[in-house]
């Protein structure tokens, strides 16, 4: 139980996927202009990341390993992630049109989120087990959501600040992300995973 908790702390704070490992920066910069959309994106990402880390673990363990074709892992994971995203989109559309409307375009966009593929590959590299993989994916997604939501609230404020013209928009966004990354370094050493 403690192990799982440590994995969560590690992925959410210490090794935050966005601010410490620099994965998933495209949606981080792209969907953080408004708080509401950022929340939709984080919800969708959490769902897909957890599910895809589970599926990629299963496909690696029970498909690639027995056949001895581990070298195909990257391409397999891309396929698995695309399938999971498509599947999620279909299920959500049929079961909850309301949620589908809220998530909207973000569902297919997740396919291009490098954090999703990163989690799948890191799970294999770290030789995480079944539950560990799910926890790792879930923690990564929560960490991503946390910083995305906080960052979008901050960007709404920066949007009205008197930023020098050359730094307006994405430039000051990147500077802010860098400063946030600086703050997240304070967590280093909390967990050794």
């Amino acid at each position: 139980m403690t192990d799982y908790l440590l994995i969560l702390v590690s992925t959410i704070l210490v090794n935050n996927f966005v601010l410490v490992q620099f994965l998933g920066l495209c949606p981080f910069m792209g969907v953080s202009n408004k708080l509401e959309t950022a929340m939709g994106m984080s919800l969708a990402t959490t769902f897909v990341l957890t599910l895809s880390s589970l599926c990629s673990y299963l496909s690696f363990e029970y498909l690639l390993k027995p056949l001895g074709i581990e070298f195909l892992q990257t391409i397999t994971f891309i396929l698995v992630i695309a399938v999971v995203v498509q599947f999620t989109e279909m299920v959500v559309r049929k079961t909850s049109p309301m949620l589908y409307r809220v998530l909207g375009i973000f569902l297919p966009l997740i396919t291009t989120n490098c954090a999703v593929l990163g989690v799948a590959l890191l799970n294999i590299k770290k030789q995480n087990g079944f539950v560990e993989s799910i926890m790792y994916g879930f923690g990564a997604a929560v960490g991503f959501s946390l910083v995305l939501v906080l960052f979008s609230a901050m960007r709404e404020r920066i949007a009205v600040a008197d930023v020098p013209i050359h730094f307006k928009g994405s430039a000051i966004g990147m500077v802010t992300a860098g400063l946030m990354s600086l703050a997240f370094l304070g967590f280093s050493g909390l967990v050794d995973i």
């Binding site: 939501v149 906080l150 901050m154 404020r157 000051i172 400063l179 304070g186 280093s188 909390l190």
Partner: protein, 347 residues
């Protein structure tokens, strides 16, 4: 005859940014005197050096942006940033460490966002965190031990130490702060043994307790003058105390509450850093959440993290969360029902 239409407020207080900043600078005096008494001229030189650089950097940016100099410089915000950095940095920090911290604080953390009132992160703490991460050795070993004679050397010697010239230039001072000592030695021994170290003195931690009491007094003065509200510091100290009592009641295992409160940068952080009106939330409820968050983070990072003191990181992390806290703690406008937030809020 034409009427001049002036909208509210019609009655104005005398407080201006300038007077607020002057009061804050004044309120650091007791803490500064304590630091000066125990750690010597280094603090004084640091403050002068940081203020000088901060004002220069501010002037340079204002000139580049073609803004009126006297208007922006006379709000004293750059001076206060310089003072806070000078107080936070180790007394023997080499001149280039304080220079990097100050320039980064003013140029990147403050002026890139449009200057006073726009910066999302506390400039002084951004500068501090940057040099702490980049030069951990220079930042943690340059605390003179207050019991050690290095603190009593004269002004010129200190100047030579910090700027590294003359025959008195030395390589390194090795004195860790009491927080650092306690944290590292308690793992292998008990409270009574660790307390033998002269760094703790006879009361709580030699020198540091008076520094913190000094900042506490200065902070109380600011609260009484209504320059800062009590919400943030009280929430910070209460949450730090509760966590420390609940998880760290055993002084033989972890740092006890007394050292948490009266050592390191706790009081400086609680009253002078966390209460920055720009980078914190604006509503009282938001300030309570903000302060409590800083207290929790200070405890967590000090106890479980790599860094001995955590005020800078805790403040930055909560600065990061402040707009979000503001978003959810907006007070209800009189006559309106509570606005909905989150999903469906803008429908």
């Amino acid at each position: 005859m034409s009427f001049l239409r002036i909208s509210s407020p019609h009655a104005r207080g005398k407080n201006s940014t300038k007077s607020v900043m002057q009061q804050v600078a004044l309120a650091t005096m007791p803490g500064f005197l304590a630091l000066f008494y125990f750690f010597g001229w280094g603090v004084f030189i640091n403050i002068i050096w940081c203020v000088l650089l901060a004002v220069t950097a501010e002037t340079a940016v204002l000139l580049l942006r073609k803004r009126p100099l006297s208007f922006y410089l006379s709000d004293y915000s750059a001076v206060v940033t310089g003072i806070l950095l000078g107080l936070a940095l180790p007394p023997f920090a080499p001149w280039w460490v304080s220079a990097i911290a100050t320039l980064f604080a003013i140029i990147v953390a403050k002026q890139l966002y449009g200057g006073m009132g726009m910066n999302p992160f506390n400039p002084a703490m951004v500068g501090y965190a940057l040099v702490l991460i980049s030069f951990p050795v220079a930042m943690t070993t340059n605390w003179s031990n207050p019991v050690n004679p290095t603190g009593t050397a004269d002004f010129l010697t200190h100047l030579q130490w910090i700027f590294g010239f003359g025959s008195n230039a030395i390589d390194v001072f090795t004195a860790a702060t009491p927080l650092d000592i306690y944290k590292h030695e308690i793992a292998a021994s008990t409270e009574a043994v660790v307390r033998q170290s002269p760094a703790f003195g006879s009361f709580i931690s030699y020198g540091w307790e008076w520094v913190n009491i000094g900042f506490l007094l200065g902070g109380l003065y600011l609260v009484l003058r209504k320059i800062i509200s009590w919400h943030t510091p009280v929430a910070l100290l209460v949450s730090l105390s509760i966590l420390s009592l609940a998880l760290g009641w055993d002084a033989d295992q972890v740092t006890p509450l007394s050292i948490h409160l009266l050592s390191g940068g706790t009081m400086l952080g609680a009253f002078f850093i966390a209460t920055d009106p720009v980078t914190g939330p604006s509503s009282p409820r938001g300030k309570l959440i903000f302060g409590a968050g800083i207290g929790v983070l200070i405890y967590i990072i000090r106890t479980y993290g790599n860094y001995p003191d955590a005020v800078a990181f805790a403040v930055l992390l909560m600065n990061f969360a402040a707009p979000f806290i503001d978003y959810y703690t907006q007070p209800r406008t009189y006559g309106h029902s509570r606005s909905k937030r989150g999903f469906g809020g803008n429908k």
